[in-house]
């Protein structure tokens, strides 16, 4: 894992050394093991390396090929080294002496701008062709690593994070208000827009090339939800699923140090942890599993259908594998606002799920203390391996397959309320006005005002509705008829790259096997009945891990409620929160964008009980905390002295 950056002078002069030095200094904490620069002609490239894989010890970037045809900067990890080596005609002995960047460079030399199509993994890279004065910037299909760019008067610059670009005179450091509103409304960030004005991101699966002053973008990969895979039998699906999932997990275990995993009481993390432990056991390696649990003695309520303590379920998974060391993370010693500030600065954007930040930060801190190099998670598992399949009911209903629909409905009734099943089946097919009415009556409509503390007056000026319409998205509760499209959209909307690079600061790499491109393609292309069969949700995964996971996970009637004691943590920091809201009120930008009066009222009316109620969690856990996170971001970008 690395942080990369570059500065290309479009007028042909040499880039300023001091500027490159500052860019390197700012990005160095993200790659503490080595920092190097390459300058020639109008280009200056720099690389800060964090050694994670065994091959990283061979890594020397910026990588110039012996014939000086191209220089490559690579940040990330290749998951198809062996296949790529075979395509390039390299033997295994030769492959063992090559870092990932060497393979990428050879791919660039062999296939030029078609190289990204041959690469699999989590990466972002830049390739500079000195003779042609051509620059190529690429991000992987799933957008695992970040890469942003800016084109100014007479120069073009790119970096892993916007902070690298802000070292360059002439690059503005201003919030793009439209993007901020879209991010808070959970709209997909299309067009490469970032939260900063005039700074754009290379989109996932995109190749951006610069020739002279001319920029070209080519989408070399896009998730295709229409693609279908039909196999002969259920067993064939299971076999294929098993093979792909095992391979995805195996790809994530390539590390030059200890591995760990985030383990909750759910299916996704349980599956990843179990498969990783089993694979590591074959080579005698150990795995540390971190589970965030409430404080000792906590007996507070959890929302309906959720359980507050994920410890027992996680412990049962860990107990099945002798090579797992299970660690319970009880509380973050750092103040909540300090955590938010640190995350914001590390990612150059605000954390969207502020409460989750607290326990994630505590886990990462503990992992760092233990010298862990790779921390596995299963963040997109619910869109891939553990998709429930309940949306199949809507599909059956919509296609008029009444008999099948009825059969599944009645089977599902054993575990789910009939009203919910009917709503799931019929609702997506209702005419829009009727759908809205139904959502309002059933109180299932998600209002943006309830999820974020955006000031309604400011929101009106951002034309969010029009933007959502243009993107064919929803500002309120999504209304999906097609489960594949929904999952593809959610997967395309995620912003895992910023979280991933922030972990570099702790010497960690976050890896998500459930976001492996091969696995995602497979999970999106198989029929829905593989996920829902005879009333059994997650049918495919259940069959795969039926022997691996304990009954506490397989037969759980409720799902885990992360950071169940969050309100106690925040309650202890109430004076700080009041102070922060007061500071935000004196900040012109924050006061304009956020409903600070509402946030202050929430703090003043801090409830004594009822923390499990939906209205309360929406107001405090989502709205207030997101408001504070956004406020912190505004103050980070546009600091003031009040």
């Amino acid at each position: 894992m690395s942080a990369i950056a570059g500065l290309i002078r479009l007028d042909g002069t040499a880039p300023d050394r001091a500027t490159l030095q500052r860019m390197q200094a700012v990005l160095a904490p993200y790659g503490v093991d080595a920092q190097r620069q390459w300058r020639e002609g109008p280009a200056g490239l720099l690389h800060c390396l964090l050694r994670i894989t065994p091959e990283d010890s061979l890594d020397q970037q910026p990588r110039l090929d012996p014939e000086r045809r191209c220089v490559v900067l690579f940040d990330g990890r290749l998951d198809n080294r062996r296949e790529l080596a075979a395509e390039l005609g390299l033997g295994s002995a030769e492959l063992a002496l090559l870092a990932d960047v060497d393979l990428v460079q050879r791919a660039c030399l062999r296939w030029a701008d078609a190289a990204p199509e041959h690469l699999l993994g989590s990466f972002a890279y830049a390739c500079w062709w000195p003779a042609q004065r051509r620059l190529e910037l690429v991000r992987d299909a799933m957008g695992g690593r970040p890469l942003v760019w800016f084109q100014g008067h007479g120069f073009f610059a790119f970096a892993s994070l916007p902070k690298g670009l802000f070292c360059i005179p002439g690059v503005p450091r201003e919030i793009c208000q439209a993007s901020l509103a879209e991010r808070l409304a959970l709209l997909p960030m299309s067009g490469g827009q970032t939260l900063f004005k005039d700074i754009r991101s290379v989109e996932r699966g995109q190749l951006l090339s610069l020739q002279g002053e001319r920029l070209e973008r080519r989408q070399y990969y896009r998730l295709d939800p229409r693609r279908e895979l039909r196999l002969g039998s259920d067993d064939e699906y299971l076999e294929a699923f098993s093979e792909i999932l095992e391979r995805s997990v195996a790809s994530c275990l390539r590390a030059a140090g200890p591995l760990a995993t985030q383990l909750s009481s759910g299916f996704d993390s349980g599956t990843v942890t179990a498969l990783a432990a089993r694979q590591l056991a074959r080579s005698g390696q150990r795995l540390t599993a971190f589970t965030a649990v409430p404080r000792e003695g906590f007996d507070g309520p959890a929302p309906k259908g959720q359980h507050a303590d994920e410890g027992p379920g996680a412990r049962a998974v860990a107990a099945r594998f002798a090579n797992i060391e299970h660690v319970l993370i009880r509380a973050n010693q750092r103040a909540p606002l300090d955590v938010l500030r640190a995350r914001t600065e590390a990612m150059d954007c605000m954390p969207m799920y502020a409460v989750n930040c607290l326990w994630l930060d505590a886990i990462e801190a503990d992992a760092q203390r233990r010298g862990v190099r790779v921390l596995l998670n299963a963040n997109v598992g619910n869109m891939t391996i553990s998709h429930t399949g309940l949306t199949y009911l809507a599909e059956l209903f919509g296609k008029g397959r009444w008999r099948d629909w009825w059969r599944e409905l009645t089977a599902c009734r054993r575990r789910h309320p009939l009203a919910r099943l009917l709503r799931l089946s019929v609702e997506p097919h209702l005419p829009l006005p009727l759908w809205r009415l139904q959502a309002r009556l059933s109180d299932t409509q998600l209002h943006l005002e309830k999820r974020s503390a955006l000031h309604s007056r400011w929101r009106q000026g951002t034309h969010l509705e029009a933007r959502a319409k243009a993107l064919d998205w929803f500002l309120e509760r999504p209304r999906w008829k097609d489960s594949r499209q929904m999952r593809a959209a959610v997967l395309s909307r995620g912003n895992a790259a910023e979280t991933a690079i922030a972990a570099n600061l702790r010497g960690l790499e976050l890896r998500d096997p459930t976001a492996d491109r091969r696995l995602v393609e497979f999970c999106l292309s198989i029929p829905e009945d593989q996920y829902l069969r005879d009333g059994q949700t997650r049918w495919l995964l259940r069959r795969l891990v039926g022997d691996l996971l304990p009954p506490e996970v397989l037969n759980a009637q409720s799902r885990g409620y992360q950071a169940a004691d969050w309100y106690e943590t925040l309650g202890a920091a109430l004076p700080d929160l009041h102070e922060e809201v007061q500071r935000l009120m004196s900040h012109a930008g924050a006061a304009e964008m956020l409903d600070l009066q509402g946030m202050r009222a929430s703090l003043e009316n801090w409830p004594a009980a009822g923390w499990e109620r939906k209205a309360v969690t929406e107001e405090y856990r989502a709205r207030l905390m997101r408001g504070l996170a956004v406020g912190g971001f505004i103050r980070y970008v546009e600091p003031d002295n009040r």
Partner: protein, 529 residues
């Protein structure tokens, strides 16, 4: 010995030593010396903010009286200036009211106080008649007071403030009745006052350089392309005298003692600095400790007798350190407290090791009620006005000053009135200019702050990057020179501006990182990070 006697002795001693008696000196003093000294006095003692709220119509009268005040202060302290200014006063021509005010005030504020010359009405009937005519046409409703009344008013006013001449604000307040009486005579005619006053009275929208708020501050604004200052009229340069004036009765609260770990770090830095001076052996000496390796040559017939070695001080480059602290609002609270504690320890440690050290602070003087902004708005908000706030630069400790004397001013940095916004570029340029004048070969400038320059008014009028661009230009200029520049970002990464910077994630680490940075900059080896 009484104060007048002490001053008389000092003057006499100065004349004996440098001028060989009063007569020759007075004869040889060139007229331009007086003008230069008047400007220097204005630059040093005048504080624009003291009369910031003064009506523009009263400004010329005030300027005349203010010039008299600053010259009186200069004459009291500096015998050479006293002679030059007296000579200039003798040669000053003009029979208008403003010139009379200046002459009368100089005479009354002298030591001992003299009798003011008669006002224009008595001295020059024609002039008085002209003044009255002017007043009649301009202010029909307010008859000007008789000249005798004006003279009496001036004497009473100046006598009331002669004991607090150093406090410009109080002086300006006390002058109000006198200025109002002068205003009854209409607007002031052109007056042959020093250049500094003329510069101040000029249109506030004029671009730099302006000589209004002290030559040093004005020069601190480098010729960075596109950088302008709307006005320097309200800029402040505060030294020990001004800090003392702001000090409440009983002084500021004492600095809380630093923790043990910080004190240990300071001690370690001190040891390192001292150790760096004693790490050199000279060999082949005729006296000293026996050098075993050369014993064989002594035994040899006619051998070398220089078989001794001696430990001496390594020829270490003399160093001079400037600590420049941001004292804007965002530093308030724990960051400022920890910064103050760390500075206290660091300066004491450096001083004990013979490293000369200066402690400076910077902020802006004005908050939301910013007079520059109001002036700009009153002028119709002309585009791209430049910096729209008054900078406040503070000298907590000069290089020659012992820390035991200066450290009592440092707690002001914790005070809510210490500053509001921060305009880093100008502060850096000012600190670098001061440092560049020092003779030491190794010059270290360490900035302690919490991020980018920030001034709401300037940002709003000039764009978000205006101050950032200027700071970059200043840093580039400093880094290209002999000064070692580094920054300590309190809570914020300042690496996008500075090539050498550290970020304090936890404020309590300020002492650790400050001492590491200092050790590194002084080339005695820092802690491993």
């Amino acid at each position: 010995m009484s104060e007048p006697a002490r001053r008389a002795n000092a003057l006499a001693a100065w004349q004996r030593a440098y001028a060989g008696g009063a007569g020759p000196l007075a004869a040889s003093a060139a007229p331009e010396r007086g003008t230069a000294d008047a400007e220097a006095a204005w630059a040093h003692w005048h504080r624009a903010a003291a009369a910031a709220n003064l009506d523009a119509s009263l400004r010329p009268w005030y300027d005349a009286l203010e010039q008299a005040r600053v010259e009186s202060l200069a004459a009291a302290d500096l015998p050479g200036m006293r002679i030059n200014l007296a000579r200039r006063l003798e040669r000053l021509a003009g029979a208008d009211l403003a010139t009379w005010l200046y002459r009368a005030a100089r005479a009354r504020l002298a030591d001992p106080p003299g009798t003011p010359p008669p006002p224009p009405s008595a001295a020059n009937g024609q002039g008085a008649s002209a003044l009255r005519k002017l007043a009649f046409w301009r202010r029909p409703g307010s008859a000007p007071p008789p000249a005798e009344v004006l003279q009496r008013l001036l004497v009473e006013t100046l006598d009331a403030v002669r004991d607090c001449l150093a406090d410009g604000r109080r002086y300006a307040e006390a002058l109000q009745p006198l200025l109002a009486a002068c205003a009854c005579y209409g607007s002031a005619p052109a007056v042959a006052l020093p250049q500094a006053v003329a510069g101040l009275a000029a249109d506030a929208a004029l671009p730099l350089p302006s000589a209004s708020a002290g030559a040093e501050l004005a020069k601190a604004v480098p010729a960075a392309e596109g950088y302008r200052v709307y006005s320097t009229a309200w800029d402040e340069l505060l030294g020990p005298r001004e800090l003392a004036a702001r000090m409440p009765t009983g002084g500021w609260p004492a600095l809380p003692p630093a923790d043990v770990a910080s004190r240990r770090l300071a001690l370690r830095l001190q040891r390192r600095l001292q150790a760096a001076r004693l790490r050199r052996w000279s060999f082949g000496e005729e006296q000293g400790l026996l050098d075993n390796r050369r014993l064989a040559s002594a035994i040899k017939q006619g051998g070398d007798t220089r078989i001794f070695r001696r430990e001496g001080e390594a020829p270490q480059a003399e160093a001079c350190v400037t600590l420049l602290v941001d004292q804007s609002g965002s530093m308030r609270g724990q960051p400022a407290l920890l910064a103050v504690q760390a500075i206290d320890l660091a300066v004491a440690a450096l001083e004990r090791c013979g490293v000369r050290c200066e402690v400076l602070g910077f902020a802006t003087a004005e908050g939301p009620e910013n007079p520059l902004r109001r002036a700009w708005e009153a002028a119709g908000r002309p585009p791209a006005p430049g910096r729209l706030n008054a900078v406040r630069h503070v000298v907590y400790k000069t290089r020659g000053q012992p820390w035991r004397q200066a450290r009592r001013y440092l707690p002001w940095l914790l005070d809510a009135t210490a500053g509001v916004e921060n305009i880093d570029g100008e502060a850096l340029a000012w600190a670098a200019r001061r440092l560049a004048r020092q003779p030491e070969s190794r010059k270290v400038l360490l900035v302690i702050g919490d991020g980018a320059p920030c001034d709401a008014a300037t940002r709003e009028a000039n764009g978000a990057s205006f101050l950032d661009d200027h700071l970059r230009a200043v840093i580039a200029a400093i880094e290209a020179g002999p000064i070692h520049l580094a920054a300590l970002g309190v809570g914020q990464n300042v690496g996008r501006f500075y090539a050498h910077s550290m970020t304090l994630r936890a404020p309590e680490r300020i002492a650790v990182q400050l001492f590491e940075q200092l050790a590194e900059l002084l080339d005695v080896g820092g802690e491993r990070r």
